[in-house]
């Protein structure tokens, strides 16, 4: 499609050259953002999927989609928020399809064991707790889950999370509160 557009009859050579230069500029700008936002995309995907290969796959797909539509993004400062939305949507889609597949294959994916009186360090270290925590996070409403993930990421303050998601600071705090409370109730 891009090549067809470039050889459209009636377009002058100058127009094509200008478009080509713009495209290369845009490519360079995206390259810079890729290094900056690639880890964010992966971590959001991983926070939803809890599977390295799937998360990498989804993050790559999201970044590629972002690249394809990068020219249409008027406010480039919103790139991070835009990318997070793309990757989060894709990750949720992937998770749903994976759950459907798992439901077909097995009736229960997670063990129902509960620790008797573990310490905090033991719990955190335990892979069993990790599995329960991931399961509990999966059951959180999507909006709460995303805020919880972003707020827990290193280098992101609540203000930045507010900016990324385009929601007020008070909403971020309330979503975080409900997410933590629901997790505690599920893991009690």
């Amino acid at each position: 499609m891009q090549e067809l557009a470039l050889i459209q009859p009636g377009r002058t050579l100058q127009e094509q050259t200008v478009r080509e230069a713009e495209r290369l500029d845009s490519h360079g700008e995206f390259e810079a953002r890729l290094v900056d936002c690639g880890p964010l995309a992966y971590r959001v995907a991983q926070g939803v999927l809890h599977h390295q290969a799937d998360a990498e796959d989804v993050a790559q797909e999201a970044l590629l989609r972002a690249y394809r539509k990068f020219d249409r993004l008027r406010d480039r400062t919103r790139f991070r928020a835009w990318l997070v939305r793309i990757v989060y949507r894709l990750a949720l889609d992937r998770l749903r399809s994976r759950k459907r597949r798992e439901r077909r294959e097995t009736s229960c994916a997670f063990p129902e064991c509960r620790p008797t009186a573990p310490t905090a360090e033991d719990l955190a270290a335990s892979t069993e707790f990790r599995a329960r925590l991931e399961h509990a996070m999966d059951e959180l409403p999507e909006k709460l889950r995303l805020v919880l993930l972003l707020a827990a990421m290193q280098g992101y303050t609540l203000e930045e999370v507010s900016g990324i998601l385009g929601i007020p600071m008070g909403t971020v705090k309330s979503r975080l509160f409900f997410a933590r409370k629901q997790l505690a109730e599920k893991l009690r």
Partner: protein
């Protein structure tokens, strides 16, 4: 405020990430064994949640992520002169097509007149003369091959090819003489003329000869021209 209400306040305070608790809550916790135990258990749960979520949210990023995306993006990015090469490819393809078509349509069809007659071979360019065997001759003649060739080239039926390429019907016993006659004609500017009216029957022979023009005078039809 009873213990249940205090415990709800404790849970909310941890969920909100509050660093300090109200004095009343601190005082109640100091005096109530159950609420103190609940506070400690909740502190442990929230610490675990914080550490676990932090670990999940900060997973190590695979090194292959950025190079992988870069490769995908580079695959999609057209090379700087790709649109030029597109034109070039189209031009070259068109030129090759035109040359091929021209060669196929206008190539000279060569045919050896006497193949089996013991007469020295002589190439005759179409459409000067094309031989066609009579129906009773079972041996396939080169002229049939030519007819097929012309039909293939022009894309018409045999009738059309006959109009495009005049044929001379030669009886089998006359073929050697005809070949000799064609071989003796000058290389350039051969004009063959029928020496008498064509017979009504297709298989009757008729004579042809080289047309000789000794003198040619061209006169104007308009008298005022001179």
């Amino acid at each position: 405020m009873n213990c249940q209400q205090y415990q709800e306040r404790i849970l909310d305070a941890f969920a909100a990430g509050e660093a300090t608790f109200p004095d009343a809550l601190v005082e109640h916790r100091r005096n109530c064994w159950a609420c103190r135990a609940y506070y400690e258990s909740q502190a442990s749960v929230f610490r675990s949640i914080d550490e676990g979520v932090k670990a999940i949210a900060n997973e190590e990023v695979p090194r292959s992520l950025v190079p992988g995306v870069r490769a995908l993006v580079n695959d999609e990015l057209p090379s700087p002169s790709s649109w030029m090469s597109g034109w070039e490819v189209a031009a070259v393809a068109a030129a090759i097509l035109a040359v091929s078509l021209g060669w196929v349509l206008y190539r000279p069809v060569r045919h050896t007149v006497s193949r089996n007659d013991g007469v020295p071979a002589r190439s005759v360019e179409s459409p000067v003369a094309v031989m066609r065997r009579l129906p009773e001759d079972p041996v396939p003649s080169p002229s049939r091959e030519l007819k097929r060739t012309s039909a293939r080239v022009f894309g018409h039926g045999a009738g059309n090819s006959a109009t495009a390429m005049p044929e001379v019907i030669v009886l089998p016993e006359e073929r050697a003489a005809f070949a000799r006659f064609v071989a003796d004609t000058p290389e350039q500017g051969v004009v063959l003329a029928v020496t008498r009216a064509a017979p009504s029957k297709e298989d009757e022979p008729f004579q042809i000869a080289v047309l000789e023009i000794h003198e040619l005078e061209v006169q104007s039809l308009d008298p005022s021209w001179e």
